[in-house]
Structure formats: structure tokens, C-alpha cells
């Protein structure tokens, strides 16, 4: 593949996904298993990435953490994209009052700093994994909505759309079979960036204690312990953070690669 | 009459993604004092590049491969950048096709003209301002006091072109190079600008290198004509000779095309 960036990104994400899907098979031990003899132990043969203060194997926790982070990222962005698609295409296609209302709503939502919005909702709900996905999705659709609206506005007047109207296609059909497939390029690019963003948000939330709750491992909540073990247990700080970094790099590579393809 | 500018075998190449494109192939021409030379040809024949190369104003991917441009005994291609910068604007000035986009949108007309004056002459801001007002009235702008405070987007194309000409005349250049200065203007404005240029040439005594694809303009103002085609000068000579007895097939094509539309 000539598009090296895209290839690199896909490779990284493929490896991570494999890790996530086959976690039970790959993981050295059970992530909640506490090895009392090896509390806060540095990396060794028995524990490749070390252990945390409760003796749990870091490598296992991180592999299971991949499951959590990736699935939250993808599903949250999926929710955001669906909401964005619906609102954006309605606004772009119908125009007029509907457009104004939807765009005003988008503007209002954009006035709230994302993190504040997410934390506020997190304050009213319990932190289940589904809730986290929902919250991130419900607060992150604005970019997609604007993007799709823009694409549809420019595609709307093209000949093939007017032709499909002429032969009597229903609005629904026009939107879903003609407009959206042609607008999908930038949406996909944005979606991959969005997944990276969602993973970042989830790890931030978990780090603050409002995301994935222990003992379920998430890269973010493993890092909670690094605050208290700074300087003593470097492995707890380095590895989860590195994992987040690499994952986000992977998705950004994909996004850059897609940009080159659809540009 | 002695030549003011002598171009010998100029060759300019463009590097487009590792493909070399030769835009100007061994072009030679001469401009004498107070002479009007028209560089005519179709779009893409290399006229503009030739003109810009004379003072080495070229985009980063372009390169002057060989040739000489003699001006007052110096080869402009070879001299130091510091000396070249003193000749640009002062001895050789340029007018471009679309005046509004060739003027900086964030500075007033007055500022841009005064900048040219203060760059090459030892004048105070106060003196430069007076000079600017004078120049603006020389190019027949009705209300110089107001125009000096205007921004390019506030004026029409024709006004901007006049102001541009004023800016070029700021230091009484020896050669004025006009690259299709009337192409983007309305026909009525076009003849007014041409009249203006001719009149100013009488007054200030500069040579004019006028680039155009429009042979009817060429006929009106040229002393000498150079016809360019695909980067080469295919025919050159006195205007009268070229129009009455064209030799090169491309020249004949151009002339007959204009005659057919009834413009010659």
C-alpha cells in the first residue's frame, strides 16, 4: 500500500484490537488476581510489566484495559456520528427553520467546554460503562453534524441529486442512498479522530475517578495509582500512558492516511 | 538610440514535482530608451515569466538556468541581491494584471505608495505624503486626499490600477513593465488607462515593456513587437513591419484571428 501512514495506523489499531478481542487468551493472568508476594514489583519475568500496589499484574490489566478503552472509544464515537448524521443531514437537506434550529442548538452545545459538560452529566449518573459511552457520544456529535451539513449543502445542488428528484425519489431515499454515501469521506476522517478523542476523554474521566471504576481496569484508572507512586514505581506511570499515546497515534495515522485518500 | 535593456538567451525552468518544464527558451530582446516594446502571445507562451525573470522575481520552484540581462552595463542575473533590490522599483517597475489582488489589503493606498517613495528616496513621511498626492493627481484620480486613506477593496479596479501606476512612477523608473494591465478592466476603462500610460510615458520618459495577448492594443501603442510562442520568441521587429509583413506562421495566425473578429 502506497499510503504508509494509513498502513501504519491500521497496523497499530489491528494489533490493539486483537489484544482486546483475544484478551482472555493473551493475558498472562487474571487481571484481578493479587500476588501478595509481589506488591508494587518492578517488571520481571513473572510480571512482564510489573505489578501495582495490590499485587495485580500490570500487563494483564493493560490488556483488559485495551478492551475497555477501545470499545468505549468506538461505540461512543459511533453514537456521536449517528446523532451527527441525523441532525446534520436534516439541517442541510431541509434548510430553513429546521436548519436554523438545529444549528442554534449545535452552537449552544459548543459553548460548553466538553469536559465540563461530561463531568456534569457524570455527576448525575452512576459511572457504568454504558453511561460513559453514552455521555461521550451525547456531548461529541457537534463536529460531525456541522461537517455533514456542510457536505450536504454543497452536494444538494449537484445534478445527480436533481436527477433523482426528477425521477421521484423520496427524501429519505435521496438522503440515505445518494447524499450520505458521497459525503462519507470527511465524516470517516473525523470519526477516526473522534475515536481517538473519545479514548482520551475516557482515560481522563477514569483518571479523575468518574469513568471506569476499579477493579475493572482501564488505562486511565490504572494511572490513578501513579499519582501516589511517582518516583517509586515508574512502570505504573509509563506503560498505561504509553498505551494511550500509541493508540491515539494509531487512530491519528489512520485519519491522516484517510485524508490523503479522500483529499 | 542606445539600448537600455538587453536580454540574451534567457532560459527559465520550473521544477514541478521532479518534472522539469522549460517555460522560457533562449529568449532575447532589447528595449531602447523611451521605446514601447510589446511582448505579445497567447496564454502560456512564457511572456509573464520572461518579464518577472528580468529582475529575478520568480517563485521558489523556478530557476534561471542561463542567459544574461544587461541593464546599464550590469548583468542583473549575476549581481548581488542587495544591489538588485535597489534596482527593483527604482529603475525597473512592474504593473500587474489584477490591481486589487496585487495590492496589500491591510494597508491603505497611501501607505503603500509612501512605502515605495521612502524606500528609494531620502524623504520624510511628510514629504512622501505630498509626493503621493501629486502622483495620484498625475494619474488623473479626482480626489487624492480621500483615496490616500482608502483600502484597495474600497476602490474600483480602474482606480486601483491608476493608483498602482502612481506607485510605480514614485521613483521615476527607467523601464515600466506592464503585465496585461488592462485585461481585467472594462473596455472603456481600458482605453482610458492606455491613454494615461502613453501620456505619462511622454511626460516621464520611461520605456514601456507591455505584455498582452491582445494584438489590437499592440497595434495602438507599440514601437516594436516580440511575438512569443511556447517559450520562444518567434518573430520580432518594428510594429509596422510585423503587421504588414508577418513572417512566422504563428504570427500570421494571430493576426488573421484578430482580423476575423474585426479588431485589426
Amino acid at each position: 500500500m502506497k499510503n504508509k501512514t494509513l498502513a501504519a495506523g491500521l497496523l497499530i489499531i489491528a494489533i490493539l484490537s486483537m489484544m482486546a478481542i483475544f484478551a482472555p487468551l493473551i493475558s498472562p493472568t487474571d487481571p484481578s488476581l493479587m500476588d501478595q508476594n509481589n506488591l508494587l514489583a518492578p517488571p520481571s519475568y513473572t510480571h512482564l510489566l510489573g505489578t501495582d500496589s495490590m499485587g495485580r499484574d500490570l500487563a494483564s490489566r493493560m490488556i483488559y484495559g485495551a478492551r475497555i478503552s477501545l470499545s468505549i472509544g468506538v461505540i461512543a464515537m459511533g453514537i456521536a456520528t449517528i446523532i451527527g448524521l441525523i441532525l446534520g443531514s436534516a439541517a442541510g437537506f431541509y434548510g430553513g427553520v429546521i436548519d436554523t434550529l438545529i444549528m442554534r442548538f449545535t452552537d449552544i452545545m459548543l459553548c460548553f467546554p466538553t469536559f465540563f459538560l461530561i463531568l456534569t452529566v457524570a455527576a448525575t449518573l452512576e459511572s457504568s460503562i454504558f453511561n460513559i459511552m453514552a455521555i461521550i457520544g451525547l456531548t461529541g456529535w457537534m463536529g460531525q453534524a456541522r461537517l455533514i451539513r456542510g457536505e450536504i449543502l454543497s452536494l444538494k445542488e449537484r445534478e445527480f441529486i436533481q436527477a433523482s428528484r426528477a425521477i421521484g425519489c423520496s427524501d429519505f431515499r435521496i438522503i440515505f442512498r445518494h447524499l450520505i454515501p458521497n459525503a462519507i469521506g470527511p465524516v470517516l476522517v473525523n470519526a477516526t479522530l473522534g475515536i481517538a478523542g473519545a479514548i482520551l476523554l475516557e482515560s481522563g474521566l477514569s483518571f479523575l475517578g468518574l469513568g471506569v471504576q476499579p477493579p475493572t481496569p482501564s488505562w486511565g484508572n490504572i494511572l490513578i495509582e501513579s499519582k501516589s507512586t511517582l518516583g517509586v514505581a515508574w512502570w505504573i506511570t509509563i506503560f498505561p500512558g504509553l498505551a494511550i499515546l500509541i493508540t491515539i497515534l494509531g487512530f491519528n495515522f489512520i485519519s491522516e492516511g484517510l485524508k490523503k485518500r479522500y483529499a | 538610440m542606445p539600448e537600455l535593456l538587453k536580454v540574451k538567451n534567457l532560459r527559465v525552468e520550473f521544477n514541478l514535482n521532479n518534472d522539469i518544464f522549460t517555460a522560457v527558451k533562449d529568449v532575447s530582446l532589447e528595449i531602447a530608451e523611451k521605446e514601447t516594446v510589446v511582448l505579445a502571445g497567447e496564454s502560456g507562451s512564457g511572456k509573464s515569466i520572461t518579464a518577472l525573470s528580468l529582475t529575478k522575481i520568480l517563485p521558489k520552484n523556478a530557476r534561471i538556468v542561463s542567459g544574461e540581462v544587461f541593464f546599464r552595463g550590469q548583468d542583473l542575473i549575476k549581481i548581488d541581491q542587495r544591489m538588485l533590490v535597489k534596482i527593483r522599483g527604482k529603475e525597473i517597475a512592474y504593473i500587474f494584471q489584477e490591481p486589487t489582488s496585487y495590492l496589500n489589503p491591510v494597508y491603505t493606498i497611501g501607505d503603500q505608495i509612501m512605502e515605495a517613495i521612502m524606500l528609494h528616496q531620502e524623504k520624510s513621511r511628510f514629504e512622501a505624503r505630498a509626493e503621493t498626492l501629486n502622483l495620484l493627481s498625475q494619474v488623473k484620480i479626482a480626489d487624492p486626499e480621500r483615496v490616500i486613506l482608502d483600502y484597495p477593496h474600497q476602490l474600483s479596479g480602474g482606480m486601483n490600477q491608476r493608483a498602482f501606476i502612481a506607485m510605480c512612477l514614485a521613483c521615476s523608473p527607467k523601464i515600466l513593465i506592464a503585465d496585461e494591465p488592462t485585461t481585467s478592466l472594462d473596455v472603456t476603462i481600458e482605453s482610458a488607462v492606455l491613454e494615461l500610460l502613453k501620456g505619462l510615458q511622454q511626460k516621464f520618459g520611461f520605456s514601456l515593456l507591455f505584455i498582452t495577448h491582445n494584438l489590437s492594443i499592440a497595434k495602438k501603442i507599440a514601437d516594436k513587437i516580440c511575438i512569443m510562442y511556447q517559450g520562444k520568441v518567434v518573430e520580432a521587429g518594428n510594429a509596422g513591419d510585423i503587421f504588414d509583413r508577418p513572417k512566422h506562421p504563428h504570427t500570421k495566425e494571430l493576426i488573421s484571428a484578430y482580423q476575423q473578429i474585426g479588431k485589426l
Binding site: 459553548c111 465540563f116 483518571f207 | 517597475a93 496589500n104
Partner: protein
Amino acid sequence: MLTYIFRRLLAMIPLVLGISLMSFAIIHLAPGRPSNVDQSLNPKISLETRMRLEKLYGLDKPIHLQYLNWLKMMARFEFGKSFSDNRPVSEKIMERIPITLTINIISMIFILIIAIPIGIKSALNPGSLFDKSMAIAVFIGFCLPGFWIALLLMNLFCIQLGWLPLSGIKSLDFEYLSFWQKAIDLSRHLVLPIFVSSIAGLAGISRYMRSSMIEALSQPFICTARAKGLPESTVVYKHALRNAILPIVTILGLSIPGLLGGSVIFESVFAIPGLGRLFYEAVMSRDYPLIMAEVVLTAGLTMLGNLIADISYAYADPRIRFRKQ
């Protein structure tokens, strides 16, 4: 110009109303009533207190009346009393504003000082080693989790090297220091938070400046500037830069929500007593009056930031400031 400002202000009104509605909706429509404080989180609130609070905040009234009440409170900048210590919310917020404001403003200045020259230099030599390495640095910068970098830097500078203090904004003996020593103490405490806060902005603005400069340098009037005989430095810094830098003000304004959101994280990591940390504490203790107030405040600041950015741009760009005759 004045008509432009006026129109923008007018357009802001529905936005303000919308913000008040949204913040109200988020809290009140979410499952779990605002007064339904989890006993385990805040044992101070007994059933009796809860019912008193409900009455106080009119939570027993129908929802549209509650909203009007909320609007009235907002208009008077009264946000009630904090659940955790009964102090007026506005007081608690006002205490914290100076610190967060200081950090964010210094952050923005820092970003401008560093990112603009980097962008310009990259634009002047596109494809050079400098440009390419900056591009890589920016890419990685966008991908770094802020809190992770904060932790790493803390480890390096505070623990391993011992150059900087670990947390807070003042040392324990702050009160006893001279003025100059106080200034240095504050700076040492704020270095890391400001740096962490600026990373995303640095990456974004240097990239933006680069493309803005490249675009400006390709404009026709640059050719004119060169043809006039201006030295290259004047062409770049007087003619190109002035055009390229116009949108930067807008970008800065648009980065306000990002900066505010980011402050929640780094203030928690560095134990800075600012608005972000206050918000975090409010969320953890389900202190709804405080939460609502901060949400509205930050949304308002964002809106204000956008407004100032738009107006500054309109003022700076003569094409908008002076309409055609």
C-alpha cells in the same frame, strides 16, 4: 463596524437563553433528582435537610417555574449556596477565578510567543528539517494525554531533579518571604501547570500559523512587494505576516473552552486551587448549585471569548471594518 458589533450582540441573546436552558436541562432532566444526593457521598445531608433544600430551591414546584426561577437567579448572578459548606457559590467561584485566569492568560501568551515564530519559520522553509521535525512534534503533541505528560514532568522535575515544587501554588513558608521571593516561588509552582496547559495550543497554533503564512506568501501582493524592491525581511514581516496573523485572534478565542476544560485535569494533578479543581470537587460531592454555576460560567466565558475574537477580527481586517464605498 458598530452595526457589526450590535448585530453580534443581538445574536448572542438567544445563545444566552439557550445556555441557561441547556444547563438547567442537563441537571434536572437527568435521572436522579438534584436533591437526591447519595447518602454515602454526603452523609451531612439528612432527609430533613434534603427536604428543606428542596423547598429552598423550589425543587418541589413544577419544572417550568423552576426554570424561570433559575433564569432570575442567573440574571442576578445569584447561584445559591454550596451544598458542601453552605457558603455562597459566587464567593467560592470568585476566590478561584484569579488563579485560573492567570494561568490561562499566561498560557495564551506563552503559546503566542513560541508558536508564532515556529509557524513562520516552518512556512519560510517548507519541507526543511526544521519544518519536518516541527510537524512530527506537533503530531505527537496532539496525541499526548495531558494528565500523563503532567505526571511524567512531575516525576522528572520535581522528584528526580528536585528543581520544581510538587504541587499547589505556594510553599508553606510563603507568608514569610519577601516580595521578590514570593514572585519566584509562585513562578516555580506555576511553570509546569502552564506548560502542560499550553501543549495543545502550541501544537494547534504553530500548525495554523504555518499554513496561514504559506497562504499569505503565495498571494499576488507579495510579488508586488518584491517588485517594489523591498528587502525580503520586510516582505515577510510587514506584508505577509500582517495578513497571516489576522485569524490568530479568532483561533485564540476559540481555544478558550479547550483551555478551561483542560484546567480540570491539570489543576487536579498539580493540586492548584482554581476553577477546574473546584468543579471537580463539586462533581465528586454532587454539589449541584456549584456545578450549575460553573457550567454556566464557563459557557458564558466561551461565548464571551468567541464574541471578542470575532470583534477583534472585524476590527483588524480592513475589508470588514471599512465597507466598500
